[in-house]
């Protein structure tokens, strides 16, 4: 049996004593000569660094332009207590028209957390007979109900700015019952 293994291994040696028919080296050289490897090979590292640097520069330039155009962005407020939120909303509702936030600030506020905007609903002034409906609405909003605002019943402030962010969803049936907010009545109430 040992002889048979030796025979097998000899056979293996014989069968692997094979030479390629093609000139592999020449084929490889031809293939390498065809590819535009020089730039890709030696320059890929530099191109990568240059691309990252260019993107960073563009981002910095954009940030600088935005700061000049819209002012220094205020830091995002940390988690606020309910009292702080109420105070914030009261300040917003009572702000004179000159102090209306610029477009950029308004956009930033619209991006804020929906929970922050719920406080704005707390301060939407509604007739007494609708208060219960609003309470129910707010309870549903707090419990995470899907809410879709009706276009004609969006709560607006004195300058017609939206108090609630667009993604806030209000139960259409309930909100439709609310009359549009009258700026005069809001002032009177305050």
């Amino acid at each position: 049996m040992r002889d048979e293994v030796d025979d097998t291994l000899t056979e293996l040696v014989e069968s692997l004593r094979i030479e390629p028919r093609r000139d592999i080296a020449a084929d490889v050289r031809a293939r390498l000569a065809q590819r535009p490897v020089r730039i890709a090979r030696s320059g890929s590292w530099y191109f990568g660094v240059a691309a990252v640097a260019a993107v960073t520069l563009i981002l910095f330039a954009r940030a600088a332009w935005r700061t000049r155009e819209y002012g220094d962005p205020a830091p995002r407020p940390a988690a606020q207590s309910a009292a702080d939120r109420d105070e914030h909303v009261r300040q917003r509702l009572s702000a004179p028209s000159e102090a209306v936030p610029s477009r950029a600030i308004h956009a930033r506020e619209r991006r804020e957390q929906p929970s922050r905007m719920l406080a704005a609903y707390d301060n939407v002034l509604v007739p007494d007979d609708q208060a219960r409906a609003v309470d129910r609405l707010l309870a549903r909003v707090r419990s995470g109900a899907v809410i879709v605002p009706a276009a004609n019943s969006l709560p607006l402030d004195k300058d017609g700015l939206l108090l609630a962010p667009e993604p806030v969803r209000i139960v259409r049936v309930i909100v439709d019952r609310l009359p549009p907010l009258d700026p005069d009545s809001a002032e009177e109430a305050q």
């Binding site: 049996m1 097998t8 291994l9 293996l12 040696v13 692997l16 084929d27």
Partner: protein, 185 residues
């Protein structure tokens, strides 16, 4: 400053040229080795040539990552082996699909050719049944004409390891040949 500016590209270019020359010499030295390694897996001349060529192209692409250039042959062997195994797996799947569609045609051949073919198949079946480590050792030792030192250098393992793997491989081959004999009787 200007001096450095002039020197740097020149050094870079000469380094590149030296690397190209080195690769070229290694290409001439090792093309047969790569072909034989690929052939030991694929048993098909044209496919083995393709795989050897592909291994060299890949080696050229990443030769800068090889810190110790003295290990080129070992590196090339491993790359070729992996490429050949991948190709064989792909081919097996493709063959299985093709065979499912078209039945293989059988051609009449002489009795001697059939016996030789049968012996060859038995040999390779036994080699294929070995675990990969043992298979690589036995194939490389066949390619390198049984030189344990050369095989150890190619696999970057100790000579003792090569010897013990060869011993294991022989033992397993013996067992397999016994089994084949007993089943054919």
């Amino acid at each position: 400053m200007n001096e450095y500016a002039v020197r740097l590209p020149a050094g870079f270019v000469s380094d590149e040229a030296a690397l190209e020359r080195e690769f070229d010499s290694r290409l001439s030295d090792s093309s047969t080795l790569a072909f034989r390694v690929a052939f030991s897996v694929l048993r098909h001349r044209e496919d083995a040539e393709d795989v050897a060529q592909e291994a060299f192209v890949r080696a050229h692409r990443s030769i800068r990552q090889l810190r110790d250039r003295g290990r080129f042959r070992a590196w090339l062997v491993r790359m070729t082996w992996r490429l050949a195994i991948d190709k064989r797996r792909g081919d097996r799947r493709r063959c299985a699909r093709e065979e499912a569609v078209a039945p293989v045609e059988t051609s009449a051949s002489s009795e001697d050719a059939l016996i030789a073919q049968e012996r060859g198949m038995r040999l390779w079946r036994a080699i294929d049944a070995l675990p990969e480590k043992l298979r690589l050792v036995i194939v490389l030792s066949a390619i390198e004409e049984q030189s344990v030192r050369d095989v150890a250098a190619l696999l970057e393992v100790a000579e003792g390891t090569v010897k013990s793997r060869l011993f294991d491989a022989r033992k397993r081959l013996q067992e397999m040949l016994c089994e084949t004999k007993s089943t054919t009787r």
